[in-house]
């Protein structure tokens, strides 16, 4: 009979219509500002700077080596090296970025900066709620805005952050052991210059960045 298919189609759409009012699982739409999907661990969008400890400036891992600035394909990173030095994540005195800006309106989320960073200082964030009224300065993030704690990094990418933490801890232990050995050796050799041995250690790294 003609019209059988039409009737079947009409019952299907009617079932959808009434079913969407009674069964919540039919409505697959996530009502964005109120509801959000659970975060997937592999999510990434824009880079941020990791710091250890409570203070963002003291604990900043970045040593202003400027590799990420050079590697960035759309050139959205601007770094200016500091004149003085502060201890880095491992404990060695290093330069730190006086200016570290990322223009996230230019950033293409390629993650190359993260891959080239030898200090695990720059990582990918998951925050996507970044609307702003001011498209010029509102999307140009300075180093304070970019800095996020290691605990936050552990929250958003637990597996990755754990690996980074163990690697850093090993390096720190190695550096400490080296410093201790050097200090002991120096102390054993002669009690006269105890502090001199610790000083030459950071020089190969700062030479590498140039």
């Amino acid at each position: 009979m003609i019209g059988n298919g039409i009737l079947r189609g009409l019952t299907e759409t009617a079932r959808n219509f009434f079913g969407s009012y009674t069964k919540k699982e039919r409505l697959t739409t996530i009502q964005y500002p109120e509801e959000r999907l659970p975060q997937i661990e592999a999510t990434r969008d824009f880079p941020f700077l990791v710091y250890d400890g409570p203070d963002w400036h003291e604990g900043m891992r970045c040593v202003a080596c400027q590799i990420c600035e050079k590697e960035c394909p759309p050139k959205c990173i601007v770094i200016e090296k500091s004149k003085d030095k502060k201890p880095d994540a491992v404990g060695k005195p290093q330069f730190y970025p006086a200016i570290f800006n990322i223009d996230i309106s230019v950033c293409m989320s390629c993650q190359i900066c993260v891959e080239v960073c030898p200090f695990d200082a720059i990582k990918m964030d998951v925050e996507y709620d970044l609307p702003t009224d001011d498209r010029f300065t509102g999307l140009l993030f300075d180093k304070q805005r970019l800095s996020k704690s290691n605990t936050y990094y552990n929250q958003i990418h637990p597996t990755e952050a754990a690996a980074v933490d163990t690697a850093l801890a090993e390096e720190r232990a190695k550096a400490e052991a080296k410093a201790k050995a050097a200090a002991e050796a120096a102390a054993a050799k002669s009690a006269a210059p105890p502090q001199a041995a610790a000083q030459p250690a950071p020089q190969p790294i700062s030479g590498e960045t140039k």
Binding site: M1, I2, I6, G9, L10, E12, T13, A14, N16, F17, G19, S20, Y21, R26, L27, T28, T29, Q31
Partner: protein, 419 residues
């Protein structure tokens, strides 16, 4: 029968008219009658756009608009403001005068049909002797407006859309009028008011609506299919098929002119639905005799909303027809049935009332219907589609030729690179 609530608008109008001096009364009466229609139906249009989007959303297991105001209720207002503030772009090579007139004409022509629709008891703007005739005459003005829009835009898409629209509207005008002829034959009047009044009588609790007869069911079905095609609604929305010719005849319109086309289209849909209600569903009369205490205009709008819901439901279900399917449906299936329906009404009118009349008329409809649909299904064959500018025929019989032409370049493809 004349409850004050039922005659609220009529009495208000009479009361207001009493304050106006006698020479000015005819024009004042006209203004007082026209203004509510000019307010009520665009308002219904605004509500319908929201309900349609919500309904279609639910049909597709979505929420539909729910951001503007509570439950998205201010969405029509937002849409209106948006279309008012948008830039009005006219194509450089367009015929400016016709391009401007087309949306005005389509909105005006859609409004004209409401003059003869009985919205409630004693609530018909014009009780014309030839009301139904007037309605269809005015309704065909829309075709002119559509073609004006398509022609004046000087765009291929709009011209294609307009040509499709003209072909479709003229084809479906025939079954639309023929389906209503059956009602005219039964009632013996072209006046919409008397057609409704004849249906607003009751035996027991049941009314004498035309749809409660075998020919009424068929006539109503044919009328609604034709009305769907007349108002360019899905599945007959070829003139504005978004996926083929983007928006058809109004592709070159923007801003408020576009909104006027939209308005005209919906008003046309309401008008034809209103005519279907008038002809088949007893106009403003209550479906059961003890429900007459509910005002007549409410019944009219309730029926209108039900028909609109039906339109939305069909739109959410059926895919768009192809042009040849559309034409063959109109001329091979709906038109013969409409002519048959006229014959059945004749039989119905001259047989004595009773169960026998019902039986004979039902058989007279069912047998040709089955026969026609079976035959059409049988003779329908899938033709081999060929592209007009291809020189070789792509058919199974011509496969040797086809193979030589098609496979030769592929087999020899590395060779041209060597020299």
């Amino acid at each position: 029968m004349t409850l004050p609530l039922d005659q609220l608008f009529v009495l208000t109008k009479q009361h207001l008219l009493a304050h106006i001096p006698t020479p000015a009364q005819p024009i004042a009466s006209a203004i007082l009658s026209v203004t509510p229609i000019l307010i009520a139906f665009p308002l219904l249009f605004a509500i319908t756009t929201l309900l349609e989007r919500k309904g279609l959303g639910r049909i597709q297991n979505r929420y539909g608009p729910n951001r503007t105001g509570p439950l998205g209720l201010w969405q029509p207002i937002a849409d209106g403001i948006k279309s008012l503030t948008k830039e009005d772009i006219v194509p450089h090579t367009a015929d400016h005068a016709v391009h401007l007139l087309a949306p005005i004409l389509i909105a005006a022509a859609s409004f004209l049909g409401y003059a003869v629709l009985p919205i409630g008891r004693n609530m018909t703007l014009l009780n014309l002797n030839a009301g139904v005739l007037y309605f269809f005459a005015v309704g065909s003005l829309v075709e002119l407006a559509v073609f004006m829009a398509g022609w004046s835009s000087r765009s291929k898409y709009s011209l294609l859309g307009a040509m499709r629209a003209i072909a479709q509207m003229i084809s479906y005008e025939v079954p639309l009028v023929l389906a209503s002829v059956s009602v005219i034959m039964q009632s013996g009047s072209l006046s919409t008011v008397s057609i409704v009044e004849q249906q607003a009588t009751y035996t027991g609790i049941f009314p004498h609506w035309n749809i409660f007869t075998p020919w009424g069911i068929l006539g109503f079905a044919l009328f609604m299919v034709a009305a769907c095609a007349e108002s360019n609604r899905s599945p007959f929305d070829l003139p504005e098929g978004e996926s083929e010719i983007i928006a058809g005849y109004y592709i070159e319109y923007s801003g408020f002119k576009f909104a006027l086309f939209f308005l005209g289209e919906y008003l046309g849909m309401f008008a034809t639905s209103g005519m279907a209600i008038t002809l088949f569903l007893g106009g403003w009369s209550a479906p059961l005799s003890f429900l007459t205490f509910i005002p007549s205009y409410l019944w009219f709008f309730l029926k209108l909303l039900v028909l609109i819901a039906g339109f939305i439901w069909v739109r959410g279900t059926l895919p768009r027809l192809r042009m040849d399917q559309l034409m063959s449906l109109a001329w091979q299936f709906i038109l013969p049935l409409a002519i048959l329906n006229i014959f059945v009404v004749g039989v119905w009118r001259f047989l004595p009332s009773g169960i026998l009349r019902w039986l004979i008329c039902t058989i007279l409809i069912i047998i040709p219907f089955t026969f026609l649909s079976r035959t059409l299904k049988k003779i329908k064959k899938f033709q081999t589609r060929t592209y007009a500018f291809v020189e070789y025929p792509i058919t199974s019989t011509a496969s040797p030729l086809c193979n030589t032409v098609l496979t030769a370049p592929i087999a020899n493809s590395p060779e041209p690179q060597q020299p």
